[in-house]
């Protein structure tokens, strides 16, 4: 991957996702910074679901969240993943 990809904007009910190369090709790293506290199990579920659907080994996803719903989080993760191919 030449350039890191950024998708989404931090705004109420929204989030941004930065995708970079990770250190280990067999792992996918997530770093979540969120203003909504107490939703760790929900995040865990959304991220686990995402990694079973997409080949994300060797990538690192960093997230700034401002209270997005699980569906929006999933959508942005997928968009960020696809934006790696399109290079935008």
């Amino acid at each position: 991957m030449e350039h890191p990809a950024l998708f989404g904007v931090v705004a109420s009910g929204n989030l941004e996702v930065l995708v970079e190369s990770g250190s280990d090709k067999t792992l996918c790293d997530f770093e979540v910074d969120t203003s909504a506290h107490g939703f760790a199990p929900v995040w865990q579920a959304v991220l686990e679901d995402f990694v079973t659907r997409y080949p994300v080994g060797g990538l690192k996803f960093s997230i700034h969240d401002a209270g997005a719903t699980p569906a929006v989080v999933h959508l942005r993760l997928v968009q960020a993943f696809h934006s790696l191919d399109s290079g935008s």
Partner: protein, 299 residues
């Protein structure tokens, strides 16, 4: 194949830059991977953005080198904080030194980020000073206003300092924003929830008619691009419009006449009625509106 229209208003700052410049030419400075986030927002426990809400860098437009600043209006209203402001100022200082063909300011901001009050105010004054250095170096600065936040507060002033202001009807330009006016002076003074009123008073059409914007274009990134690439300040590097004493006096006379003609006017509708176009204005495309201004001798 027909190019799909890209709404300037709907696009993010990053998408605007990508569509505006020659494909693949943009090189971002201090990109999101550098994680220059706001320490002030973090201290308040507020969400931060990887780029602190502004994209800066260099690229090519119609083959010519340009330096670009693009604010993200959706992140904290595009407001200028310490990091955000330092990035804008840095890009301008580099433009003053490197002298590209033009600087493009994609302004989308409510002004100073109130969480960072003094640092934000200081940043605005530094941006203004840097802008003057760019202009002194002979580099034209284009303000492109068509985002969700428009250009208000300190960034409204910065916009008016630019050499050429390009707006869409959806873009807005002003000093105090509608909600600020309502909060300070009351709803009788200005109803910020009256969307039609807000756009009649601050929108692209009235700003163009009053001469505060020099170009009115459709809400399409390609239209903004064309407005810049066909402008004489872009096509002719020798074209300088330095203010002469006569020029300043002409501008003073124009503003005095405007004040006299429109004294006490509280709504652009009065101005449109006076020009005999009443409510048709809202339905005009930018092309029809520009033709109307031309025919009315207001262009």
């Amino acid at each position: 194949m027909m190019q799909r229209r890209c709404s300037f208003r709907e696009a993010t700052a990053r998408q605007r830059v990508a569509h505006l410049l020659d494909p693949g030419s943009f090189m971002e400075w201090l990109g999101p991977e550098q994680r220059l986030t706001s320490p002030h927002l973090a201290a308040l426990g507020a969400p931060v953005a990887f780029d602190d809400g502004v994209v800066i860098g260099a690229g090519r437009l119609h083959g010519e080198s340009v330096i670009v600043v693009a604010q993200e209006g959706v992140f904290n209203g595009g407001a200028v904080g310490e990091i955000h402001g330092a990035k804008v100022r840095g890009a301008l200082m580099r433009a003053a030194r490197e002298k590209p063909r033009a600087v493009l300011m994609l302004v989308d901001s409510g002004g100073v980020r109130l969480h960072e009050a003094n640092a934000g105010l200081l940043a605005i004054s530094e941006i203004m000073r840097a802008l003057f250095l760019v202009q002194e170096a002979g580099v034209p600065v284009f303000a492109l206003v068509g985002g969700t936040c428009g250009a208000f507060g300190g960034m409204g002033i910065v916009t008016r300092l630019c050499d050429v202001v390009v707006m869409s009807e959806e873009g807005r330009l002003g000093l105090s924003g509608p909600e600020v006016i309502e909060t300070v002076k009351g709803v009788e003074e200005f109803d910020s929830r009256d969307r039609a009123l807000v756009w009649r008073v601050t929108g692209g059409k009235i700003r163009r008619a009053l001469g505060e914007a020099q170009q009115l274009v459709e809400d399409d990134v390609a239209a903004f691009r064309e407005a810049v690439t066909t402008h004489t300040r872009f096509t002719d590097p020798q074209c300088h419009e330095a203010w002469s004493e006569e020029g300043l006096e002409r501008e003073q006379a124009r503003l005095s006449a405007r004040r006299r003609d429109y004294e006490g006017v509280r709504d652009a509708q009065v101005i449109w009625n006076g020009l005999g176009v009443g409510r048709q204005v809202a339905l005009m495309t930018s092309e029809e509106f520009n033709r109307f201004l031309q025919e009315a001798g207001l262009a």
